[in-house]
């Protein structure tokens, strides 16, 4: 599954990242590339550091897993 390594790395590092909750972390495989103030800053840094074609995780640092809620009946397509 895509991002499997990155998500494991995120959860392994989460206790240390939580003092920067609300900021955005970029992770590639087992490496934490950096923590940034905004989502756009995180993307810019990631494309510069890793290139445009590499899989990496960008996630807002938070204690809970991110959740999305939809009241409309939709059929999620979880992978393209």
């Amino acid at each position: 599954m895509a991002l499997e390594k990155e998500l494991k790395t995120y959860h392994r590092n989460l206790p240390d990242l939580l003092d920067r909750a609300g900021k955005y972390v970029v992770i590639h495989e087992e490496s934490v590339i950096g923590v940034y103030d905004s989502y756009a800053d995180a993307l810019q840094a990631a494309y510069k550091e890793l290139g445009a074609d590499v899989i990496f995780l960008v996630r807002e640092i938070q204690a809970q897993e991110p959740q999305a809620f939809f009241t409309r009946h939709i059929r999620p397509t979880c992978q393209l």
Partner: protein, 142 residues
Amino acid sequence: MPTITLPLTPDGPVLKLGVAVDLPLSQALRSQNRPVPNPVAATLLIDTGASHTNIDSRILSQLPLQPRNQVEVHTPSTNGVPVYCNQYSVALIGLPLILVPAILVTGASFQGQNIDGLLGRDVLGGCVLTYNGPGKHFILSY
């Protein structure tokens, strides 16, 4: 804030937008003299019942997108047990200005619903929305 006024359609308050690769990616591609994919046209329903923006996977699959995050998705049919879905980073463009330069969206099938996605509260959180039912229009400032 730019403001647009649009008629309410039988499908509700909908926006015709372009879905594109996020702005930082298009800038990175340009700096490498690589082609930037054209935006894909999409009709999105403004939905305050959607916490996040969600776009038909037929639209998303036309762009060279990599998964950038994963989120637990709850719908009326998931009965409290979330499904884990990838999120993809896109830009939403086509109003007088870029609406959102970079946002994480999930994919879904909207087949038969006459729309290509939902514009959720992640975008609306930065907007002022006036829904004028009697006047049969809505106003969006962003």
